[in-house]
């Protein structure tokens, strides 16, 4: 009996053994076959995904730590085509909450390109709109008819935001949705602010989870500007442009000791949070920042550079006299004074105080071509200042030998005609007079903050076009000139040096239009220890064409605000302090 069943048991056992062995062989085969290796390789591919990490764009602060440019959260709203969804509901929601056209949204999600599993409906959706859509998605998630929005996906990311709106818009520039900075600081320091995006292979397999890559964010920048002063001069500039009927205006406030731009305003300005205004506000060739991008004939403010060169070259002294007959013939042209009058015997301070074209033309022609243009070049005319803002233009200083230079240019250049400069060039050149002969590099960046460390930038001297003695002499002459003139730019309690400018505007048909001017004023103070330099330029004012009437009062108001904000006491108190200590 036992033997009878024995072989049967053995047979079953053998069969089971063979089957078991077959299973084992097949398991080994599956693990080692070429197909298995391919599947493993594919699996490795799906274990990782390429992901690009964009570091947060660095913030921009004013000198007191007030945020001028930061970041805000916006959303990319898309549809996961792997998820079952009702296209009508999704398209309708896109129309209601994202402002998309229903038909195009419907087409995007029902007719995607081959192989596409995710469709972006709209990017840069403001947080409030995205959150409203999220709330709607949640409210219909259990819709019994299946009209839910489970397929909608929300991916938050950062977008540039400007909490001050249009404040300092011209010098900040802006960032578009491509993440690149345009104009101003945003363009000039784009690489530093943006950081370096990194595309990495990130494991999706939780068994291979890795820590976040160490991607340093963009550096933060601290600017030299003072937010409160900037706000004030913008407000003042807008009012001045309106009151004077000017086409545009520019104000620059700089510390002549170190070149720090304390404030810089031009018109027009746009709300940096709404870059769609750009095309409307800056049509055609309208410069984004006139302070650095618009060259024009500055007029009489340039006389300070002519006089600086003449004094430094010993062509004249402050006591040199000139008999002004009201007419000066040179290079085949006749030069007149601003009022066509003859001012009689004048010393050099009188020539500046009365802004005599005839006198300054005599000065430059007495200097001669080489010395005069040598000084103009040393003052940086015709060259970029190198200010750290994008979009600067060099202006134009015609030189002997140039095809369009004529001998009369030597005479007219002396009082700012036939030469084109930008406001920032004039400010930089004048800093040499206010700063003991040392011309400073105008700059907007105070410090870079990265990895928790602040790197302050050192002031730079770009040249010494005139001696300290010349600078101090001219500095004092310009103060006397303003006092003699009874300038509207004088500020009670503070001795000011400065010069007005009223430049006729070249006509497109040749010659000059005497009814349209560039009215300007450049001044600095306190004269014995300059701590601020202010340049005001109003383009084509209609209430008055004279810089002394429309620009000088603006200068005065800027200084009155500046001394309060920066805590600069009146000269009497300051000198008392210095003498006491």
């Amino acid at each position: 009996m036992n033997n009878a069943f024995g072989w049967r048991y053995l047979t079953v056992a053998a069969l089971l053994g063979v089957v078991g062995l077959g299973v084992l062989v097949q398991v080994v085969h599956l693990q080692t076959s070429p197909e298995a290796q391919r599947i493993t390789a594919d699996n490795e591919f799906y274990n990782f995904t390429w992901k690009t990490y964009y570091p947060a764009r660095g913030d921009i602060y004013d000198r007191n730590g007030n945020l001028l440019a930061g970041n805000k959260t916006v959303y990319e709203v898309g549809v996961d085509l792997h998820t079952t969804f009702d296209a009508n509901t999704v398209a309708l929601a896109a129309q209601m909450y994202l402002g998309l056209d229903y038909a195009s949204a419907y087409k995007m999600i029902t007719q995607p390109d081959a192989g596409v599993v995710y469709v972006v409906l709209k990017d840069f959706v403001p947080a409030d709109k995205a959150e409203a859509l999220m709330a709607f998605q949640k409210s219909v998630q259990n819709d019994p008819t299946g009209h839910n929005l489970a397929a909608l996906a929300f991916k938050p990311h950062l977008e540039r935001s400007y909490p001050e709106g249009s404040l300092a818009a011209n010098l900040l520039g802006f960032v578009l949705q491509d993440g690149r900075g345009y104009y101003g600081v945003e363009e000039k320091y784009n690489n530093i602010l943006a950081g370096v995006p990194q595309t990495l292979l990130v494991p999706t397999n939780p068994n291979q989870a890795a820590s976040l890559p160490d991607i340093p964010p963009g550096a933060n920048l601290i600017l030299t500007i003072d937010r409160d002063l900037q706000a004030y001069i913008e407000q003042l500039l807008d009012k001045s442009v309106q009151d004077s009927g000017a086409a545009s205006g520019t104000i620059i406030v700089m510390n002549p000791r170190n070149g720090e731009i304390m404030a810089m305003a031009t018109t027009p300005r746009m709300d940096l949070n709404d870059t769609t205004q750009y095309a409307t506000l800056f049509p055609g060739s309208t410069p984004y920042d006139r302070a650095i991008s618009q060259a024009f004939e500055p007029g009489s403010v340039l006389k300070i550079l002519t006089m600086a060169g003449a004094l430094d070259s010993k062509t004249v002294t402050p006591d040199t006299t000139f008999l002004d007959t009201g007419v000066f013939n040179y290079g085949g042209a006749t030069i007149h004074n601003w009022n066509d009058g003859a001012w009689g015997l004048q010393d050099m301070t009188g020539c500046l105080a009365n802004s005599l074209n005839v006198c300054l033309a005599w000065v430059s022609t007495t200097m001669g071509n080489d010395p005069f243009y040598s000084y103009m070049k040393r003052f940086g005319l015709g060259h970029l200042t190198g200010i750290d803002l994008a979009g600067e233009v060099p202006g134009r200083l015609k030189l002997p030998g140039d095809g369009d230079w004529y001998p009369v240019d030597l005479a007219t250049n002396a009082f700012g005609q036939g030469v084109a400069i930008t406001p920032i060039q004039l400010v930089m050149a004048a800093s040499a007079i206010a700063n003991g002969g040392k011309m400073v590099y105008p700059h907007i960046l105070y410090a870079i903050v990265q990895d928790g460390k602040q790197h302050n930038l050192s002031p730079q001297i770009v040249g010494t076009p005139i001696s300290a003695d010349t600078a101090n002499t001219l500095n004092n002459m310009l103060a006397v000139a303003l006092e003699t003139e009874g300038s509207r730019g004088l500020v009670t309690g503070y001795r000011i040096s400065g010069k007005t400018g009223t430049a006729e505007i070249p006509s497109p048909t040749g010659g000059y239009d005497s009814t349209q001017t560039n009215a300007s004023f450049i001044g600095w103070g306190p004269t014995d220890n300059p701590q601020f330099m202010v340049y005001v330029w109003l383009e084509r004012p209609t209430s008055s064409i004279w810089g002394s009437l429309v620009a000088a009062p603006v200068f005065k108001q800027v200084v009155q605000k500046y001394v309060v904000l920066e805590g600069i006491p009146p000269d009497s108190i300051r000198l008392q302090q210095s003498n006491g200590h």
């Binding site: 913030d59 000198r63 959260t73 990311h157 909490p163 404040l167 939780p206 706000a231």
Partner: protein
């Protein structure tokens, strides 16, 4: 006679066949339980590692989210304290801009005017990996590291 006696004695003390089978089955089951225990421990450890990995992924996402939220809050705060809004608030509670005539300067010996801001912060966290090696290294790696870390015998006094 003598051989027969010996055979009888051997047969008497021989394991019964069913007992030998049970022993083999017992040994097999013991091995099976051992394998099952190892497999169970492996599954348990692997699952916990996967859960920890998943948690890390979630935390990574949360870090990014919080960084974005912080940036967002900074900007919102700056909007609330913008020049325009602060001026309006100041005017609403009765303040007005001071003019130079209204300023009184007091000489304070040793006073240093406030300079531009310094935004240097506390020393940053080290750039050491946030995930400890214990979460990523294999048993073999751990042994290798332990061996490497063991000081050689007979070292310095």
């Amino acid at each position: 006679m003598h051989i027969e006696n010996v055979t009888q004695i051997v047969q008497k003390y021989r394991q019964a066949p069913w007992r030998a089978q049970r022993q083999w089955i017992g040994l097999f089951l013991l091995g099976l339980v051992g394998v099952a225990m190892v497999a169970g421990i492996y599954v348990n450890i692997t699952t916990r590692a996967d859960l920890a990995g998943r948690d890390i992924q979630i935390v990574n996402d949360e870090i990014l989210t919080h960084q974005q939220e912080n940036a967002d809050y900074d900007t919102q705060l700056a909007s609330l304290t913008s020049t325009d809004s602060m001026m309006k608030r100041a005017e609403a509670i009765g303040f007005q801009p001071v003019t130079p005539d209204e300023m009184t300067y007091v000489v304070v010996p040793g006073y240093q005017p406030k300079g531009p801001i310094n935004m240097s912060s506390a020393p940053q966290l080290s750039s050491a990996p946030l995930i400890l090696p214990a979460y990523t290294e294999s048993l073999f790696d751990w042994f290798a590291n332990q061996i490497d870390a063991t000081p050689p015998s007979g070292g310095q006094p």
